[in-house]
């Protein structure tokens, strides 16, 4: 018997190999001679191994299936139920799938020759992305979060200020009503313990200087506010 061996690169799976072997010998798939095809298949696997082609578990599984069917053929029950039936059906289905696959590939090209109103419905929205897209969206979200945080802080601050027990107007009146003609700035602030009160008082002070209610004098390096006599 000849050794039917094939070049292997073109096979994706065991069914491809099996179909190729059947075609090479021009076997009738409805009456497969199991001993022939099993031998061919096992020989082919051996050649694959010799040529350092990876023999996946699926090839060995197919080989043992073929052996199993071959043995079953010897049993009397094989007269009633042909043990090859499932395998044959599988081969037929697989061939049909492969020929449809070629058809469908070609149909894609053919369909591109037709133009219509909107053709992009099916696969337009998807585009391959990269890790950069993920980084970009991460940065975008971080920036948004930072902005939000800052805005929240500002809001809190302005809310605090509006709730503040001290207002610039009050402090201005307070300073105006002080009985002394001169105020020593250092003393004025030393008496205040509250930070907020200090800030507001300082603002009031600036405002009064601007309004020329006070004049600023330096005596012995001490800063004095002197009420202007109206």
């Amino acid at each position: 018997m000849d050794n039917f061996v094939i070049k292997f690169n073109e096979f994706e799976g065991p069914l491809d190999l099996l179909i190729e072997l059947i075609k090479k010998r021009e076997l009738d798939i409805y009456d497969l001679p199991m001993s022939v095809i099993t031998k061919d298949f096992i020989n082919s696997i051996e050649v694959m191994k010799e040529n350092d082609i990876e023999v996946t578990a699926k090839f060995t599984a197919m080989a043992s299936l073929l052996l199993k069917i071959k043995t079953q053929m010897l049993l009397p029950s094989s007269k009633e139920i042909d043990p090859r039936t499932i395998l044959v059906k599988e081969i037929e289905e697989y061939e049909k799938y492969k020929s449809n696959l070629e058809r469908i590939k070609e149909l894609q090209f053919i369909e591109h020759k037709y133009f219509k109103r909107t053709k992009r419905d099916v696969s337009k929205k998807k585009k391959k992305g990269s890790i950069l897209d993920v980084v970009n969206s991460y940065n975008l979200i971080m920036r948004k979060k930072q902005l939000k945080e800052r805005n929240m802080k500002l809001e809190e601050l302005s809310k605090k200020l509006s709730e503040s027990k001290f207002t610039i107007d009050d402090r201005m009146n307070y300073l105006k009503d002080l009985s002394n003609e001169t105020i020593e700035v250092e003393n004025l602030f030393e008496q205040i313990n509250d930070l907020e009160e200090m800030v507001v008082t300082f603002s009031a002070l600036l405002e009064l200087v601007k309004l020329q209610f006070f004049r600023i004098e330096l005596i012995n390096e001490k800063v004095l506010l002197v009420k202007k006599v109206s």
């Binding site: 049909k96 696959l101 469908i104 590939k105 037709y114 099916v122």
Partner: protein, 164 residues
């Protein structure tokens, strides 16, 4: 109302329209609409535009012999499906055509000869080309539209037709 009303509806439609839908739009019987549609199909046989049947509906497309003229002016986004998606949908279409039944994941994995068929299935699902049912996977109308065919049987017919 005459067949030219149908013509104008088809002209603006962005999706294939069934005769049922057109009959509702125009408030005419489906029989009448079907007659008009057949007449229009004939009228358009020798034109730069065709009326063809896709996914059980009707749509206007340019005639395929002029695609080279059109391509430069309509920058078309060519969408070719990836190998895993093509294989997945072909297996489903093949067995659906044979048995009219849904196809299970194990079968897809077996015929594609891959350990894990999930990503191909996921992509096909997200493209809307297949749908999931309790019994397995089936092709969708979107599948038919993508390949410009009326039903699965046309997979074979259409190719023979074009090669002629």
């Amino acid at each position: 109302m005459d067949k030219h009303a149908v013509e104008s509806v088809l002209f603006v439609a962005k999706e294939p329209l069934t005769s049922e839908k057109i009959s509702k739009i125009l408030n005419e019987s489906e029989n009448t609409i079907n007659r008009w549609l057949s007449e229009l199909e004939k009228d358009y046989e020798q034109r730069g535009i065709r009326i063809r049947r896709v996914a059980g509906g009707f749509e206007m497309v340019t005639s395929e012999q002029y695609h080279e003229v059109i391509e430069p002016i309509v920058p078309k986004e060519y969408e070719f499906l990836s190998k895993p998606v093509l294989e997945t949908i072909t297996i489903i279409a093949t067995f659906e055509l044979e048995t009219s039944m849904a196809v299970r994941k194990s079968k897809i994995g077996k015929y594609r000869d891959v350990k894990n068929p999930d990503s191909g299935i996921e992509s096909a699902l997200s493209l809307g080309l297949i749908k999931e049912t309790a019994q397995g996977y089936l092709t969708t109308n979107e599948f038919l539209k993508f390949f410009g065919i009326n039903d699965l049987r046309e997979l074979e017919e259409k190719l023979q037709q074009i090669k002629r």
